[in-house]
C-alpha cells in the first residue's frame, strides 16, 4: 500500500514541484537588469560553447546517414539522388534537433544540474534567498531562456554542418555527385520541415534546461547528491527529448 502510494504520489509530487518551480521562476521575475548578465553568461555557455561539439556530432551523423543510405538503397534501379532526398530531410526533421538535444543533455544539462546542485548543497541558493532575491528567477530563468534562445542556433548549425558532412561523405565515397545530392534534397524537400525542426529545438531547449534546473535546484545530500542530480539530469533530459519528439511528431505532422 505504501509502495503503491509512493509509486503514484511520487511522480505527481515531482510534476507538481516542477510546475511550481517554473511558475515561481517566471511569475516573480523582477527587474530584467538583475538577470541580464546571467542570461548572457548562460547563452554563452549553452550556445556558443556548445557549437564545436554539436558541429562535430552533426557532421558525423550526416556522414553516417549518407553512407548507410547509400549502402541500403543504391542499386541500378534507384537514382543516386535518393541519398540527398533521404539525408537532408532526416537531418532537418530529426537528426539535427535530436543529436543536438542529446549532446546538450549531456553537456549543458549535466552542467546545469551540477552547478545548481553544488549551489544547493553549499547553501549558495539559501544565501541568495536570504538576501531577498528570487533564487529561482535568478538562477533558473536565465538558464531556461538561454536554452530556448540558443538551441535553435545549434539546430541550424547542426543541420548545415550535417548536410555538409553528408555531402562530403557522399562525394568522398563517390556514390553521388554534389548536383545529384542537392537535386534529390530539393525534390524531396518539405517546406514545413525546417519549421518543425525549429519548433523541436525550442521545445528541446526548454526540456533540457528546465529538467536540469529542476534536478539541480532540488539536490539533496551533499556531494553524492550532486553526482546523482547530474546523472539524472542528463538521463531524464534524454528520455524527455525522445518523448517530446514523439509527441511533437504526432501533434504537428
Amino acid at each position: 500500500m505504501a509502495a503503491l502510494e509512493q509509486r503514484l504520489i511520487r511522480p505527481l509530487y515531482s510534476l507538481g514541484r516542477y510546475a511550481l518551480l517554473l511558475s515561481k521562476g517566471f511569475t516573480s521575475l523582477g527587474h530584467f537588469s538583475v538577470y541580464r548578465k546571467n542570461l548572457i553568461v548562460q547563452c554563452g555557455r549553452v550556445g556558443i560553447d556548445s557549437i564545436p561539439i554539436v558541429a562535430l556530432a552533426a557532421a558525423f551523423s550526416g556522414a553516417v546517414t549518407t553512407v548507410q543510405t547509400a549502402y541500403q538503397l543504391v542499386s541500378p534501379f534507384i537514382p543516386p539522388s535518393v541519398i540527398g532526398a533521404v539525408v537532408v530531410p532526416s537531418l532537418i526533421l530529426e537528426l539535427g534537433a535530436v543529436v543536438t538535444g542529446f549532446i546538450l543533455a549531456g553537456r549543458v544539462g549535466a552542467r546545469i544540474a551540477a552547478e545548481l546542485g553544488t549551489m544547493r548543497v553549499t547553501e549558495q541558493i539559501d544565501a541568495l534567498e536570504a538576501m531577498g532575491l528570487n533564487s529561482i528567477g535568478y538562477l533558473i530563468v536565465p538558464r531556461i531562456m538561454a536554452g530556448i534562445i540558443m538551441f535553435p542556433v545549434l539546430y541550424v548549425t547542426a543541420v548545415l554542418v550535417g548536410v555538409g558532412g553528408g555531402l562530403a561523405a557522399a562525394v568522398a565515397t563517390d556514390v553521388v555527385s554534389t548536383g545529384e545530392f542537392i537535386r534529390g534534397a530539393r525534390e524531396n524537400y518539405l517546406v514545413f520541415g525546417p519549421m518543425f525542426g525549429l519548433i523541436k529545438s525550442f521545445v528541446f531547449g526548454f526540456v533540457i534546461t528546465s529538467i536540469s534546473c529542476y534536478m539541480g535546484y532540488y539536490t539533496e545530500g551533499g556531494a553524492e547528491g550532486v553526482g546523482r542530480s547530474t546523472t539524472q539530469a542528463a538521463v531524464i533530459s534524454c528520455v524527455y527529448i525522445l518523448l517530446s519528439d514523439l509527441v511533437l511528431a504526432l501533434v504537428l505532422l
Partner: protein
C-alpha cells in the same frame, strides 16, 4: 523582534525540532547552542523562512512570515544578513564581487560607490587584498570573513551567524568574535549566533538558548548560564571547554 512560536519540524518522518519557542529582543545578541545535528541551523533557517515549520509560526516584527506572499517575504528578508556555516560564497564570482553582489543588486550605487563600500566591508573583516580571488582560492577562515563582509554589506537589522568560528584557528576566531561584538554594539543590530563554541558564547552573547533532543532545553542570560544547575547544560558547557584549542574537533 523575532518570535519563534511553538515550531515543530521533521525531515522524512524524523523530528528535528519539537515545539520550540524563542524570543529575541531588539539589539541583543542571542546564542543558540546545542550538539552537532541538534537542529540549530534548522531553527535559524526558520527565522528567515528558508524552511517552513510543520507546526507553529515565526513572527518578524509581528509579521507571520509563513502567511505572507513570497514577494513580501523577500522584502522581510532584506533586513537580514546571514552568515552561512560554510560561507556560501558564490563560487562563480570573485571575493570582491561576492561582497558587491547585494550592493549591486539592491542599491542604485555607482560602481565607485560599490567599490568604496566593498572595500570598507572587507576592511572590517581584516581582508583587503583578496578582492580578485575566487572562493576556491581562499582558506576557510578567509571564506567566512568574506561571507561576513557580504552579510553586513547592506547594514542589516538582523544578523544570523551559523557557526561563525567553527573550523577556525583561535586567532581568527577571536577576530570574528570581536567583529560580531563590534557590529552588535555599533550598529544596534540584533544578532543570532548559532554555535557550540562556548568561548565565543561567553564573549559575545547576552542570552543563550540551548537545544537538546529536539527541544528548547534551556534559555537564559549569561549569568544564569553560570549559575545553572541543569546537568545536561553543564555537561555540554564542560565538554566544550575541553574542546577549546582543538579547533578541528569543534567543526560540526
Amino acid at each position: 523582534m523575532i518570535c519563534v512560536e511553538n515550531i515543530s519540524k521533521s525531515f522524512n518522518g524524523r523530528a528535528v525540532l519539537r515545539d520550540v519557542s524563542l524570543e529575541m529582543q531588539e539589539g541583543e545578541t542571542l546564542a543558540i547552542i546545542g550538539r552537532s545535528g541538534s537542529g540549530k541551523s534548522v531553527l535559524m533557517k526558520h527565522a528567515i523562512g528558508l524552511l517552513q515549520p510543520d507546526k507553529g509560526r515565526v513572527l518578524v516584527d509581528g509579521i507571520d512570515i509563513g502567511r505572507i506572499s513570497y514577494r513580501e517575504l523577500r522584502t522581510v528578508r532584506r533586513q537580514f544578513g546571514v552568515l552561512f556555516q560554510g560561507g556560501a560564497l558564490f563560487d562563480s564570482m570573485s571575493a570582491f564581487d561576492n561582497v558587491a553582489f547585494p550592493i549591486r543588486t539592491f542599491t542604485d550605487s555607482t560602481e565607485q560607490q560599490v567599490r568604496d563600500r566593498v572595500l570598507r566591508c572587507l576592511d572590517l573583516v581584516n581582508l583587503s587584498d583578496v578582492g580578485t580571488k575566487r572562493p576556491s582560492e581562499l582558506s576557510g577562515g578567509m571564506i567566512k570573513r568574506v561571507a561576513l563582509a557580504r552579510a553586513v554589506a547592506l547594514e542589516p537589522r538582523y544578523i544570523l551567524y551559523d557557526e561563525p568560528t567553527s573550523g577556525l584557528d583561535p586567532h581568527t576566531s577571536t577576530t570574528i568574535n570581536n567583529l560580531i561584538k563590534g557590529l552588535a554594539d555599533q550598529l544596534d543590530v540584533t544578532s543570532i549566533v548559532v554555535t557550540h563554541d562556548m568561548r565565543s558564547v561567553l564573549s559575545i552573547a547576552h542570552r543563550v538558548a540551548f537545544i537538546h533532543r529536539t527541544r528548547m532545553h534551556w534559555v537564559g542570560d549569561i549569568d544564569a548560564l553560570h549559575r545553572s544547575e541543569d546537568r545536561t547544560l553543564r555537561a555540554f558547557v564542560k565538554a566544550n571547554e575541553y574542546a577549546i584549542g582543538h579547533p578541528a574537533q569543534a567543526y560540526s
